[in-house]
Symmetry: C2
Subunit: 401 residues, 2 copies
């Protein structure tokens, strides 16, 4: 890879892939919206269409993966930044209950189905773990597009998704250790404590720290875009720290956004929104690129595929929905649907399982299909579940909680 | 490279490198500004410092190269976007004269020095070609930071740099063909005509086309950020087309910005500015990463290095300055200095020469040193040359031409 600059063909090729992926995503987002569907669905379908399993114009590669990952980091950062008066602790117990139920049910159901179908125990556990995964990015993007991030159900979804993520990584760590032979409970305990400690400390003290620091920085620094620079630095630093602490990088990115939400100005938010808008299509269409439609060629895997998909949707919806029942049926339904997308997280679990030889190729394709299909099914249902609030919001332009 | 998401160590490593590079660039930009120097100088030095030849914290890699390249594309796009009432044709003849003089003199001087030092003819020609290169990004960034893009000298620099770029690529094509054996003048002619045609047509008709198209698009499309999406698409599309037409991708990016300058709104400009601010440090510090200080270890290459650097500065300054003399001494000096940075373009020419076996390793290091040193020397001199206008601008906030 040399420079675009001089017409190096590999570099120009990457530029063309980016153009195609971004262009197709935005074109299909427009189509989806004209059909009354969330834009996200269009972007996912665009990825499937131009990906290897249909037109084969663009294949997943390392560079597109990096853009996709940065996309989801910026997406979660932006979501954190746009939240008003969000206290993780305030919704903590509700969220914890939702997350725990939404982890246990999918894991048990996924594992039991695979066992019942005669698959080995470890493979079944890995499929269960992949059904635990929640791709909060998808739901957050749909809610952000609808400008409904700041209602109760949305805030609870975000909080539950964070806890779900920590739990999901612990489940993944356990099944990965099982695959290697033994589980080191001591190490696992340390990771869990670190992960939870990191999240709680940043969530608790981040906002106040930056409310003090940002005005001071503005007075002392000479640069023109200090708040923007600070935003990028904090986003990257907390993403790295989160990874080191054992939480997903996106949680770090989300916490960075939350910490800065009340201290950076509108210019800065608009500038980071620019980066987010640029990168997110690579995340969404990038998920679609991984779709492997070969699962439909084999009738015997086809029905397993359908069963797993149905189980993935219902177990998450029921698990989280029941956990949220205290909030009333409507919010419980919103939360249940909001947690359904498995997106990139489910895919990565399957990838890890495949790379260590626990998940065979056909099951891998099924899990990837389940991850992408849950991601496509949820946004239209989510829009439906939020329809009262969408109407209400159309009448009164600003609202919160 | 898997997902940051799950703490994949290579991915987290990339995230850390990005954090280091971005952070160091912005820290040293602040230092530079406190010393009254352009921020650009600090960002370049930051790259040298954390790069392999000093601290060795971050080494150039493919991913950082892609960010660096996108950075310079967005930089030129943003420069085009911020230009007011810029007509390539209106400054065309002045710019042509400057560009031709600024191509011939450095090429002849560079080649003669190498020949006089006993280097082979082809190697001498390649060094000459690397001295022809102009990194318009550096100068444009300095002028944009000073908010002096819209004065006469700056506009002429931009126009001359575009023509210089076309000429530079033709020179490079000729010397590369010489290295392969024969020069296909027919093919070269086609490339030149295509390159010039592409540039002139977009420059001439782009603005009017988008002044008609953008309001129409705004009425018809449902998306929330249509102008931003259009900007990204045009930026990528013209960059790809420029590469295919045989001009550098950055020229396409610049033309895309120019074409949209009068039709997109301030929100869109702020959003694309966000992407630019995010990516440009990877371009600037990325240049610094390539510095190879080993040239200083050998006294015999050291003085060649000094000689080439001096020749590079003087030949470009005098060539372009004399070409611009009609504009008065002050503007001539501004133009002469503005064209001095060789930046990434000089480095790429050297890289191509090295990869086809024409430029040996020690000469390659010298050319890279020349490219980076000219890039560091120019910004402070540029600030000095523009000091009247900087003062004037401090008194009257808005101005143009």
């Amino acid at each position: 890879m040399a420079f675009f600059l001089m017409g190096d063909s590999a570099a120009v090729g990457l530029l063309m892939q980016m153009l195609l992926l971004f262009g197709a995503a935005k074109l299909f987002a427009e189509f989806a919206q004209r059909l009354g569907q969330p834009a996200v669905v269009g972007e996912l379908i665009a990825g499937v269409l131009i990906g290897p399993s249909v037109l084969d114009w663009v294949r997943p590669n390392e560079f597109l993966t990096v853009f996709s990952e940065l996309g989801v980091l910026f997406l979660l950062f932006q979501v954190g930044l746009e939240l008003k008066d969000f206290k993780l602790m305030r919704v903590g117990w509700d969220a914890l209950l939702i997350a725990v139920a939404g982890v246990l049910l999918p894991f048990i159901v996924g594992r039991q189905i695979m066992l019942a179908l005669g698959h080995p125990g470890l493979e079944a556990a890995f499929v269960g773990a992949s059904m635990v995964a929640t791709s909060v990015g998808i739901t957050a993007k749909v809610l952000a597009d609808l400008k409904l991030l700041n209602v109760r159900a949305s805030k609870i979804i975000l909080a539950a998704a964070i806890i779900d993520d920590v739990l999901g990584l612990i489940v993944l760590a356990v099944v990965s250790s099982l695959a290697k032979g033994t589980v080191n409970y001591y190490e696992l305990g340390i990771t869990a404590v670190l992960a939870i400690g990191f999240t709680l400390i940043v969530a608790q003290f981040g906002t106040k720290a930056f409310e003090k620091l940002v005005p001071r920085m503005d007075r002392r620094m000479s640069g023109a875009h200090n708040q923007f620079v600070l935003s990028i630095l904090l986003l990257f630093a907390l993403s790295v720290l989160a990874s080191i602490a054992g939480v997903a990088a996106i949680i770090g990115a989300f916490l960075a956004g939350m910490a800065l939400a009340s201290s950076v100005d509108e210019h800065t938010k608009e500038q980071t929104a620019g980066v987010t808008e640029f990168l997110v299509p690579f995340f969404l269409a990038g998920i679609g690129l991984h779709m492997d439609l070969s699962v439909f060629q084999n009738p015997s895997t086809l029905w397993v595929c359908g069963l797993i998909l149905l189980a993935a949707i219902l177990s998450k919806f029921l698990g989280c929905g029941l956990g949220a029942l205290r909030l009333g049926v409507r919010d419980a339904a919103r939360v249940g649907i909001g947690m359904v997308p498995r997106g990139e997280v489910g895919m990565v679990v399957a990838q890890i399982g495949n790379s260590i030889g626990v998940i065979p190729k056909d099951v891998y394709a099924i899990v990837v299909f389940m991850s992408i299909a849950t991601t496509m099914v949820a946004p239209p249902l989510l829009k439906l579940a939020y329809r009262d609030l969408i109407k209400q919001q159309a009448q009164e332009p600003t609202q919160s909680l």
